[in-house]
């Protein structure tokens, strides 16, 4: 019989490492997708994911079961992504530069184009895009999570979609032909 997430979390908080391994298996792919939206390059995703679960392991004793484990876990991932963005080396190439280089040699497809377009968005736009589109959270929920007014979040989301749409049109092969 499948164990409920609350029971699994309770076992983990009592120091059961098997329960932690189960939580990792349950959440690693959803978090990888979430972090892929927040990362500035696909290469970062594995490191960000690893760091997220490392922080989760350390913070386990501080978690109090209230039915919002998912939100708590995503908040950790968000903080990890923000820290990585702050540490980003100034000399690192911008995603647009990488995309332009790849496009020049015919290596880029629509998915890569989208990935680079998302990576080029400012951090706060990437965050609201990941939380609304990938996590399916409402603006009110995101507002509570980030402490930002819902109206501001809607403006950011609208701006993000506009930029993505323009980028996709630029890279659309049918449009070019």
């Amino acid at each position: 019989m499948a164990e409920s997430e609350a029971e699994m979390l309770a076992r983990w908080r009592r120091g059961d490492e098997d329960a932690f391994a189960h939580i990792v298996r349950r959440w690693q792919q959803p978090l990888a997708r979430f972090l892929a939206r927040l990362a500035e390059s696909p290469d970062q995703v594995a490191d960000l994911l690893q760091e997220t679960f490392l922080r989760l392991h350390r913070a386990g004793a501080r978690y109090h079961e209230n039915g919002h484990f998912s939100a708590w876990l995503h908040q950790i991932a968000l903080n990890v992504a923000r820290d990585a963005a702050r540490r980003r080396r100034p000399s690192a190439p911008l995603p647009s530069e990488v995309a332009a280089e790849s496009a020049a040699v015919g290596e880029i497809d629509m998915a890569d184009c989208l990935q680079h377009a998302v990576a080029e968005l400012p951090q706060e736009l990437r965050e609201v895009l990941a939380l609304r589109h990938d996590r399916g959270m409402s603006f009110e929920e995101i507002s509570r999570m980030l402490g930002v007014p819902a109206s501001t979040l809607k403006s950011r989301f609208t701006a993000a979609l506009k930029r993505l749409r323009l980028k996709l049109e630029e890279f659309d092969p049918e449009r070019e032909s």
């Binding site: 990792v24 690693q28 997708r33 690893q50 589109h133 409402s138 609208t158």
Partner: protein
């Protein structure tokens, strides 16, 4: 609503994040406006492509997490160990700088506080084996000291007497020595006189 207002709301409309009233107005507008329908379709495509372009998957290295945690626990343990030793060293230094240890014949006292100023705490006697017998012991010591002094005085008196006797003996010895010399001189004179009477000449000195 005008086209510009409709286009502004289209990203939210695609995700169903507009109010019921706005939704009705947008739907009505899109039925009549081909340009706005194209815009709406572009946003729908963007949303679909975002969903289809599944970001890369990744797997967590659990062993690496456990290794990192073990290293972290070891670092923390070493840090606490160093802190403990440092605290012990500081405490010992403070104690020694503020502490006075007095070792006496039958007691060990430890005091703390400022030595050049008024003491903060009264002295605390840690070891005092026979505190009640201290007066008796002092008397014994005093008696012993008096006995030693008396013995020393007696020995000095005896020494003086012996010295006097010795001086007397020395004087007697000197007197006897002079007497023997006088007898020897008389005997020598007599022997010389007898020799001259017998042989008519003075005898050569042979006695040293």
């Amino acid at each position: 609503m005008k086209c510009q207002e409709i286009v502004e709301l289209l990203p939210l409309h695609v995700y169903g994040d507009v109010t019921g009233d706005e939704q009705a107005q947008i739907v009505a507008h899109l039925e009549q406006c081909a340009a706005c329908r194209t815009e709406a379709e572009a946003y729908s495509t963007a949303r679909r492509q975002l969903t289809q372009a599944s970001p890369s998957t990744a797997a967590v290295d659990l062993a690496a997490i456990y290794r990192d945690e073990n290293r972290r626990h070891l670092r923390r343990a070493r840090w606490w160990q160093r802190l403990t030793w440092a605290a012990v060293a500081v405490a010992a230094a403070v104690l020694l700088s503020r502490c006075e240890i007095d070792v006496r014949e039958q007691s060990l006292s430890v005091r703390w506080g400022g030595f050049n100023t008024e003491r903060v705490h009264d002295s605390v006697v840690i070891v005092q084996p026979r505190p009640a017998s201290e007066p008796a012991a002092a008397d014994q010591v005093r008696i012993l000291q008096e006995l030693v002094h008396a013995l020393a005085a007696m020995i000095a008196t005896q020494d003086r007497d012996r010295q006097g006797e010795l001086n007397t003996f020395r004087g007697e010895l000197a007197r006897l020595q002079k007497k023997i010399e006088a007898i020897y001189a008389e005997t020598r004179h007599d022997v010389s006189a007898l020799y001259a009477a017998q042989f008519g000449a003075t005898r050569k000195e042979s006695i040293p």
